[in-house]
Symmetry: C2
Subunit: 321 residues, 2 copies
């Protein structure tokens, strides 16, 4: 019976008559297999654990949604959780997923979780990191070429005639943030212009963050352009700029790393370094499902991908002539 249900009738040389009979009975009784028992027996849950930084952030929400859709089509279910970038919470979530015997992991790693991730790797559980990676670990990952993105953005601002371009980022040594900073500094260096970097400490109290950015901009009257390293920093920044009554782009040009619905609708529309969400999702799930194939040789080779960004130029970075 089990064979028939799992579509192994042919291969197990079970007669069509029996297969039919089983199927008919199953239909009649409305039999639903107990997934729990099945999983206990086979060790496979067909569930993938997705650990992102913040599911309410549109970037992660979109990627998660695309991943879920693709996985669903291929018979896998996704369970999400947000880490809020808190290592303790991340560890707890990973441990919870392990207890629930997920077949694979997709993780946006916060800092300091190398130990937990290498534990998963040691158990041979297929895993893909995305958005950032852990440089000390050999893992699959899909990231974006942030340096190229901020380099192009800085270049664009310089072409618009800006000479004092500032960079607002978060207080973090994660790979993706370092990269974004690197592209910016490099572009300025090539033009022999000074860099002006603010590392904001992001807390729950959004007013404090806004005030922090507010003070940074206020104390830098000569500044004529700002690049924000994440979309939520840009949103805080726009609030600060409004408070200071600086006009965009006349007084201050603005570019955001990572796009957002709001940026298209804001007045003026905000130029953004867009990440290729579809490609990210597709690559992540492809790598994972490939490793989930029983046929695949384990550790046959890591897949480490770096995807390009795209600069979407809107009004906020176009200086009047």
């Amino acid at each position: 019976m089990s064979l028939v249900l799992n579509g192994k009738a042919k291969q197990s040389r079970i007669s069509d008559a029996v297969a039919q009979r089983v199927l008919a009975y199953v239909e009649e009784v409305g039999y639903k297999p107990n997934q729990l028992a099945k999983s206990l027996r086979t060790g496979k849950t067909h569930v993938i654990g997705l650990v992102v930084e913040d599911i309410s952030n549109s970037f992660f929400a979109t990627v998660a949604w695309l991943i879920e859709k693709q996985a669903f089509e291929r018979g896998y279910r996704i369970i999400y959780c947000s880490t809020d970038n808190d290592p303790a919470k991340t560890k707890e979530l990973i441990s919870m997923f392990r207890e629930r015997h997920v077949d694979g992991f997709i993780i946006v790693p916060s800092e300091g979780i190398e130990k937990e991730v290498s534990a998963i790797l040691r158990e041979q559980t297929p895993t893909v990191l995305f958005d950032r990676h852990l440089p000390d670990l050999s893992t699959n990952y899909v990231v974006v070429d942030g340096a190229q993105g901020t380099y192009a953005a800085t270049q664009h601002l310089l072409e618009q005639g800006c000479r004092r371009v500032a960079f607002v980022t978060i207080d973090s040594t994660q790979t993706q943030m370092e990269e974004r900073l690197r592209g910016y500094t490099q572009a300025l260096q090539e033009h022999n212009l000074p860099a002006q970097v603010k590392r904001v400490v992001v807390t729950k109290e959004t007013e404090k963050v806004v005030a922090d950015i507010h003070d940074f901009i206020r104390d830098m009257p000569e500044c004529d352009a700002i690049i924000f390293a994440t979309n939520y920093l840009t949103i805080y920044g726009l609030e600060a700029i409004a408070q200071l009554q600086r006009r965009i782009p006349a007084d201050l040009a603005v570019i955001s790393y990572d796009d957002h619905d709001l940026f298209r609708l804001y007045t003026p529309a905000i130029t953004a370094i867009a990440q290729p969400v579809e490609s990210i999702a597709k690559n992540v799930i492809d790598i994972l499902l490939e490793e989930l194939q029983p046929s695949a040789e384990p550790a046959i080779g890591l897949s480490q991908q770096v995807l390009p960004t795209q600069l979407i130029i809107r009004q906020s970075s176009i200086r009047p002539a």
Copy 2:
């Protein structure tokens, strides 16, 4: 051993010595119980299935996040899924959750899923609906008094001197949408003013939706105020209004049902009928966890709550004198 681990040592009169020995051994080996086997045996998974319309919508994202946090603290895990308001997908998701033996359901019901929900109810699986409910079914639910919200909003617009207030909603007979419409019509009736209602068909092609609203506004030059029945309708509407170059609030006052980050930051800031997300989340999870208590009498009584909204007045609805 099982007794000790589950904290039933005392009650089963197991000697402290043995309990200690077991605990020490467990610690030493790093034993982790297999949740799958446990669930198979007990029939309890400690997982709650959360079926929302669209997890990337900030309203649902926030409520989901609050529910998850509360549930986590009390030992329950949440698995989410989005229905996109598609009955077929909703049925599939409910059936998937049933297969996974979730202990309880939290559902934002789309239309036409009465049969599935009553099947869950018949199985005595604790369930709470929110945001809207199914009038034909006796279930627990937590909804918002949308009629009161739109009534107050319309009233406010009339006080501002508006005389031709239009209402843009979606093509749906769901309870919450009907309520929102009702509050609007009632307020206008009391002032003997004509109602002007547009029911938009929401599709994947956002341009079409925007164009639809665009045409509605264009063909109604005497209109001096609009209430949008959802936050995403407002976002489409703002785009349409920008295309038409109508000034807010001078030419057209705007109010959105359901608040959004964007509305605070938009120029001008958009007046919104805010829903009490914290209360919704708290009430939903409290009702569900109460029913999940084995002590609770089943069907002892339904909990049906209607929470108030709050009108947050911003610039978009203040007419110049």
